[in-house]
């Protein structure tokens, strides 16, 4: 089974190698594609030295764009399973196996990570009580899917799902876009509890407003 892990990275020279090393040590047969999204530091060099396939965006295009670059590449190279994983050590590499399992068993075609279905998480309370509940409502309004988590970068796609999900949103709105596309294309999906380590606060309220703007404008584009 050919598994590709797509890791979008922007200025992650310090984190990228530990992440890659962890994944490779647990899953030596996996291929890792790091998409360096126009970093100003040595992210690409580091990733290369740690054994990843590196694709470089000459200029910064956003996380959604990077994921599409990596996912399309994986599909082209014959990937049967595509894992989306963050470069900032937010996620637990050991849980990749858990996330892949339903696809191997043919239970679902898309697995979405959820920080709420896992007990191990320590979220900042403003995120837990304000930002994420709001984000879930907005997600529901734009996608028609009611999920336990709103925007989680840990997900797994089957090859068929990756071919169907044509991501157009360059920036952070791709999370909602993926859910909408899943629904539109009637792909089977499953939520899986994952651990999320908070090294940084992540998406703030202002970021959420930008996502809404992107989602609205996206509706007027093909």
């Amino acid at each position: 089974m050919s598994v590709f892990v797509v890791v979008p990275a922007f200025n992650e020279e310090k984190n990228i190698c530990p992440v890659l090393r962890d994944i490779f040590s647990l899953y030596p047969t996996f291929k890792i594609v790091v998409v360096d999204d126009g970093s100003n530091d040595n992210t690409a060099k580091e990733a290369l030295s740690c054994g990843a396939i590196v694709l470089r965006h000459a200029i910064n295009r956003g996380q959604g764009a990077s994921l599409k670059t990596g996912t399309d590449y994986a599909v082209k190279k014959g990937a049967e399973i595509i894992v989306h994983f963050d470069a900032d050590r937010q996620f637990e590499p050991r849980e990749i196996g858990l996330m892949i399992e339903p696809i191997l068993k043919g239970v679902a075609e898309v697995i979405l990570g959820s920080r709420f279905l896992s007990k191990n998480n320590n979220l900042p309370w403003t995120k837990k009580k304000i930002i994420l509940p709001l984000a879930r409502v907005i997600n529901f309004l734009f996608t028609g899917c009611w999920l336990s988590d709103a925007h989680n970068g840990f997900r797994v796609l089957s090859r068929r799902a990756a071919e169907i999900l044509d991501l157009k949103q360059d920036r952070m709105a791709h999370n909602s876009e993926i859910i909408r596309l899943i629904k539109e294309n009637k792909l089977s999906f499953k939520e899986q509890g994952v651990t999320v380590y908070y090294h940084q606060y992540g998406q703030r309220f202002s970021g959420g407003v930008k996502i809404i703007k992107d989602l609205i404008i996206g509706n007027f584009l093909k």
Partner: protein, 108 residues
Amino acid sequence: MLIQIILSVFVVVALINTWQRFRSKEITGLALIVWILFWAVVVLVVWRPGLSTELANFLGVGRGADLLFYFSIALLFYLIFRLTVKMEKMERNITKLVREISYKKEDK
């Protein structure tokens, strides 16, 4: 009186300019018609200033200047919206280019 003549000359120049752009296929037939209508309205209002107030009253607005003001704001909002959408489209095209280049230059 003088302002009416100056503005009319300006409109004529603008119309000639628009026509030439149409001839050289820089603008479409639809755009030509819209511009001709626009300048026709300008000429009408220049020579019969009362007309804009009559139109405003007809629509339930007090003064012609107010009507123009409301209309301009609506038009500006629409243009900004169009611009935003166009810009997003451009952004996405740039992304496509950046992606293609990244594949061409793939490092192993």
